[in-house]
Symmetry: none
Subunit: 221 residues, 4 copies
DNA sequence: GATGAATGAGCCTTCATTCAT
DNA sequence: GATGAATGAAGGCTCATTCAT
């Protein structure tokens, strides 16, 4: 869309006018980055607008209120996350171990697991406890995720002679995945992504030793 | 806490003068409750003062700035948490399994594990990612906690013939404890505290089957 | 007014191109209605554009600024009002009583005396006091109106043996006409238009009992 | 309230702290003056605060919102107006003519009939038409006023042999009083207050010639 | 001509902080 | 110590105006 029409602020060329959907997406990305950098409590519309290289009036033009911008950003993150693991499950072979492997690896997809997105997730979690609206937005996806995890664990349990309630295994796996995410954010010197993955595999192996080792699914699986 | 932390709203029971320390503690408790109820981002000094039944100006008199009130509240929570598990370890027999059991049970101490404190912790976590100051405040305690956990796991590993790196086991145990905390806050219909404890024991049992079952340490331990 | 002032909202009946004058008139009518509905202070160009079923930018295209739109709307109302009573006087027989009758009835012409126009007049009056520009726009017409009224009252006074200064009578008649207009706007349960007319006739009769009764001009007049 | 504690801006000495009621009254007076000078639509809280020589934050401290400041200012004007005529009636002899005289003169009380108050009344009238809240605030007082006026007119009618329905006379008197008020505001070169009073008396005399002349109540009354 | 995205000035509002009492 | 009125900076929001398409 031609270089002439650019009001550059050092960014790559930006068209003066964009479709409604494209601008909204641009602002949502800027919101994620701003929350990641400054935290939820200190994020202002001016910050978001500056980061997007747009005027702050435009934010209200596209989202009406700050509240709606934040809510829609959370909805976007939530939906993006869901789409990611749903796609990963669909692409994986339909054996329980490989399904679980796909579910675990989905969380480490570099498209999803960026520092900014992780930080934004943390910030929303912190606020969600006292915001029924936020809990609503995420709740249904969380439920679906846990049901998928539980289903896989039950199928794994049916295949081996494991000692634990699949519900417990599924829960520990889920919170372990969450936990290593949080670690990547909050620890001063976090361990590597590879070690995070090893940690989750070790957890899977502890519950399903026939199907997993700390390096991933066993050949038998 | 204890009897000093009166919380009335102009009733005669409110002593006009209280020791500096008692007033500070009263305000810190009010801060925890306010953050739990309204979230970090929407907590104002007026909220805190109202909840404590004190005047607006008194908060600044005792804490200088809002920033310091919030920081000192976090330090209090952090120190309270640390004192709790340190005391639990000291009171428990010095076998690794019973030490781990004590560490796990410490997290479920009703004095520590109140809804308001859980919610406040979540809120601080959400903010901590982009606040080096907050990370500092918690970092050292977290490190100490993890080192204690790791030490126990290494001793357990030395006692049994377990397959996993003690570091991985310690990490999974830690994030599982964290995770069930988070669940208690953020899930729409959280499971019971008893089931949370079972979950953690199941995790311990998965890594250390000779020492733990999902009901707690084995008799042998 | 008339057929040109179509007012649809994107329906096919809206011609894409309209003469400059017709578009302006359409926007002026929308302005009157908007002021009537939302008040002067809360009227925005977006409101006006929406009501006219036109785009936001078109208002500025036709009127340059909001100020000019509002001023020209007032000028239109003022001129419309003037044209109405001038025509009424011209159409009436040239006896002072029938001229006064015509002047009174002109104010009740349903084309002029619509709820929206009354409300808009009130709103402009409220603002006019501190807007020399508005006072200017209306002043000359007001003066002409009062001079016409005064002239008639002087001719009536010359015909009868009335006790009052014609200036006072003219002034009371004028403010009474204004007053019943205001009543129709501002009272919670206003009296009927017929009763408003009776009120004005009673006022005329009080000053000119030989020429008027509360039902209108006497037969002798 | 010594001179030392003054933060002068050229105004006479102003105490740093004032009772709640006094500050509110001060801000209400500043609001009246601001509306009179700039009109309702252009009145900002900064204007009001500047005129009162106070910070704009204080306005919200005492009135919560701009809306409430404006509403309470209207309520004050309304109550002040009512108290004025009620007191005037109470102080006058209890004959209908002298009661009417008192009611008429009350409107010309220099305390009430200041340029700023007249202008503010006009501005509120202009907005009231589309603000049910404003109409409510004034409605009851208006009703009481009109009932008092009507009662007097009925007593006058009972004493003389007048031709007109007392309701019509009362209505014309009321709108005439209103009308000369408006004239004092909106005409470019308004007539004198004395002439306004004469106008109202002439109106009274036209309806009640035995009791009034254009100079006031007759000796007989 | 017409549209609506984009801008930015100005306003209301909130709230941490100060300070006279 | 304690109170609460007062301040002023900063943020969200509105909206008149501009302008690329």
């Amino acid at each position: 869309m031609g270089e002439a029409a650019v009001k550059s602020k050092g960014e790559p060329s930006q068209p003066r006018k964009l479709s409604r959907a494209a601008r909204r997406q641009q602002l949502i990305e800027a919101t994620i980055e701003t929350i990641a950098e400054r935290g939820y409590a200190r994020t202002t519309l001016t910050d978001v607008a500056n980061r997007a290289g747009l005027s702050h009036g435009l934010v209200n033009f596209h989202f009406e209120t700050k509240e709606r911008l934040l809510t829609e950003t959370l909805m976007f993150l939530s939906e993006e996350y869901r789409a990611n693991w749903v796609a990963a499950l669909a692409a994986a072979p339909d054996t329980p171990a490989l399904q679980l492997d796909a579910l675990i690896r989905a969380d480490f997809n570099p498209e999803i697991c960026t520092p900014a997105r992780l930080a934004a997730w943390c910030a929303y979690w912190g606020e969600a406890q006292c915001r029924p609206l936020y809990q609503e937005q995420c709740g249904s996806n969380d439920d679906a995720y846990f049901r998928a995890m539980l289903d896989i664990c039950e199928r794994l349990a049916a295949e081996g002679r494991y000692r634990y309630n699949p519900t417990l295994a599924a829960r520990v796996l889920r919170v372990t995945l969450e936990g290593v995410w949080l670690d990547m954010m909050t620890m001063n010197s976090p361990y590597s992504r590879a070690e995070a993955l090893t940690t989750v595999y070790a957890c899977a192996a502890a519950f399903f030793p026939d199907h997993f080792t700390q390096d991933g699914p066993t050949a038998a699986a």
